[in-house]
Subunit: 341 residues, 3 copies
């Protein structure tokens, strides 16, 4: 980890698009939660649910909206978007290790691959033939980059990432450990007695500023490519099937499963462990609840969900039994209504 970074509140106000009310020379050496923050720490208040913690705050400064300013006992960085200002602060105080420049002696680079001067290739990583890597890109230890991949500038592959042949990454793409991009889509033709493999001839095209979480898998297309548009953020252990298209700036939370050829719009949010069946379409700005299954196309923006709430198992079991005869119950209610008329 790098040495702790320090900034004056005056400098931070500039960098975070915030107005300082307080001591511009006060030195900040890190971030903290409202509850834990002490001297030298910068906190933030974004969710009003935590506003009650503000009067007791003992940090050196708080990022907050104007309306909370009066109840803040310490230095204030007033921001129109405290959460965005906090995000920028988290980047300033980043403590992750800086990658060693150059190619580690133990990395295996195919002789046909030419690397830019200012990239970093980690120990025991493997770069196959015909790979193109942009300036400033970091490939972590133990990565496997397949034949003919194209990585843009300033990308970061963490340790043990796997890219199959021909995968294309834009600029500033981050891929976390254990992710696998470009494995074969799941395609078979059943011939009456066995499954005949459909070789997957497309690849995966990942746009600029995409982040892909640990253990996430994105399959290559069968004929055309699987496409992840710019600015998409994908959490851990997400599965994206062949020939999907994920629209720009969509957010896919952890453990979501998206079946093949689904086309998802821009600025959507797929909740954790949600699912999308294959060959359907979801328009822009749809939000899907946690563990909900999108079983058909969605043509209208808004919030969607499926499933049932959590309850005591004894109560749940009784209700679930009734669910299995719900159609019958509906018919009986209808019959009662008809009788009454």
């Amino acid at each position: 980890m790098s040495d702790a970074k320090k900034y004056t509140l005056g400098a931070l106000a500039d960098r975070l698009d915030a107005k300082l009310i307080g001591d511009e020379n006060c030195l900040i050496d890190g971030l903290a939660t409202l509850k834990q923050g002490g001297p030298g720490k910068l906190c933030f208040l974004s969710n009003p649910a935590y506003a009650s913690q503000l009067p007791e705050c003992r940090a050196s400064a708080v990022i907050l909206e104007e309306k909370f300013s009066a109840s803040c006992p310490v230095n204030k960085l007033v921001s129109a978007s405290p959460y965005v200002s906090f995000a920028k602060a988290s980047q300033l105080f980043d403590n992750s290790p800086v990658a060693d420049p150059g190619v580690h002696a133990s990395a295996s680079i195919h002789e046909s691959t030419q690397l830019p001067e200012n990239c970093s290739i980690g120990a025991n990583s493997v770069i196959a033939a015909g790979v193109t890597i942009g300036a400033g890109t970091i490939v972590g230890a133990g990565c496997v980059v397949g034949e003919g991949c194209t990585l843009g500038a300033d990308c970061r592959l963490q340790g043990n990432v796997t890219l199959y042949h021909g995968v294309r990454l834009g600029n500033r793409v981050i891929i976390h450990s254990g992710a696998v991009i470009g494995a074969d889509g799941f395609g078979f033709a059943f011939d009456g007695s066995k499954s005949v493999k459909i070789n997957q001839l497309g690849t995966v095209d990942v746009g600029d500023d995409v982040e892909i979480g640990a253990g996430t898998t994105i399959d290559r297309g069968a004929i055309d490519d699987t496409v992840i548009e710019q600015g998409v953020k994908i959490d851990n252990q997400v599965q994206i099937g062949h020939n999907c298209r994920i629209g720009a700036h969509t957010v896919v939370c952890g453990c979501t499963a998206i079946a093949g050829s689904a086309v998802i719009g821009s600025y959507c949010v797929l909740g954790g462990a949600s699912g999308v069946v294959g060959h359907i379409q979801i328009v822009d700005r749809v939000r899907v609840g946690a563990m909900s299954l999108v079983s058909q196309s969605i043509f209208e923006p808004g919030d969607y969900a499926s499933g049932t709430g959590i309850m005591k198992t004894t109560q749940w079991r009784r209700n679930a039994v009734r669910f299995s005869k719900l159609d019958d119950m509906a018919r009986r209610v209808k019959r009662l209504e008809n009788k009454e008329e």
Copy 2:
């Protein structure tokens, strides 16, 4: 990637079990979708939903059933099973890189392991003691193959696959990156204050022609072995617990979770993100819907599902609240019916 392959339609008709209606000398250099196909491309029509695209097709040829032949404006490859013929075509046009033969200098092979002449061991892979590898088998970069594993002929492990000790693979087994075969089954005995580990003494036995997706995990058995029978196809991020048996030619879609000691028949299809609880049995030819939970044994072939449909969250919330009192509603309906008599 390899150079583009080319075949005449006459040659393709032979290889794809199809009858050519058209120019046998027409040269095909790749596959395309009906919509995208242009000169030199071969398309297919399997799903009747796409038949309307046929008259506009500008590809050089289309694989299709006899009944669609009349409405096809270009060369036709008439097949009884267009999807199977297309699968075979996809294999002919495969563009994936050919693995370098031999053992990469950076691979670490235990001195007790003897390799056949015509296998390929990728860069930075690790082969432990006492491993047996069949002819024509390819182990990708960064793989770890544990002590005493047996790999059959013509298998392919993609990059960063892990096999624990003693795992057995049949012939022509494909395993995608990030998959882990033979990790400890999840077994603990609770002694009143803590979980006591049950060491897992079995292994995993994988039959011929099995394909295992990226990030999939298959645990070793507790005492006996976990068994994946021949021809089983497993998608990405599937979890198969210890001592499961998956019957021949069953298809397991992505993100499915199968708990320990479940016994699943042959020719089943487990939909994406479905679940199977432990210690149950599913007969042959059962199809389970996406994100459905098989909570008890299934003794009759057919289609099964659980869960609810997707809907607007506002509507869902009202219905979910009612579900939590469904047993009460059922009793009230019964009371109304009794009163009426």
Copy 3:
């Protein structure tokens, strides 16, 4: 694999906290199920459902409760907790390979990292700068251990495990292949047009005797740390978001998804493929059913579930349609009741 181990029944009675009824010199060379066991094998009976197999048992001995002793035709090891005794037996008969001591020549160890004499570092693994490793710890082949990590004594990382920088493991922690500990938590602030990354400045703190399954991911905290308390057992492909706290001795079954900042008590059991939404609290000794979603805090110990049962798809579809109008049905039942009064 190691050579088969052998113990006399007399020795086993001591080691398993059991009372021997039978031949103390009888030699046991392995474990077996009641059904499969033959000469030289030791079986166990814990689940009464298998008691009917006891009279036919042909193994050399059975671990069982006193009450089943009379119907056992062979040597008996009578235990108050047969399952715990069996767990101990499984450890005695462990057949997994012993790791080679020392640092493999192909491993890449940063010069600033000093290793204890009796650790084992596998082939092609990478240990970054400033890492501390305890005595007896084994790091498998292909692992990547990030800058400044601390591993306690007698830990075991299987092949291809990834630890990001600064992760702390207690003693006797087991981590299976493909697991990723300390990847960035999924945090972004939406600025109206794009997601701004919140750098994740915390880390992951894993207590003593924790086991983490294959392909499991545990994210580092945003500001504070993600905490896994002692004795927690986590199965394969579990996702634990940033800033979660999992209480001591809790058991998390395979494919469970836990969103950020969830606080889970001690001695809980989260069933397979279950989910927990973010920022909620679950008290001690809560058990959640398979594929259930904990959508709100749980303040009372006990068993909880959500979802519906499995049924034929034709029947399910009719019921699911009715579910989508359940609120309406409830109102109509209420109206019928009102009318009747």
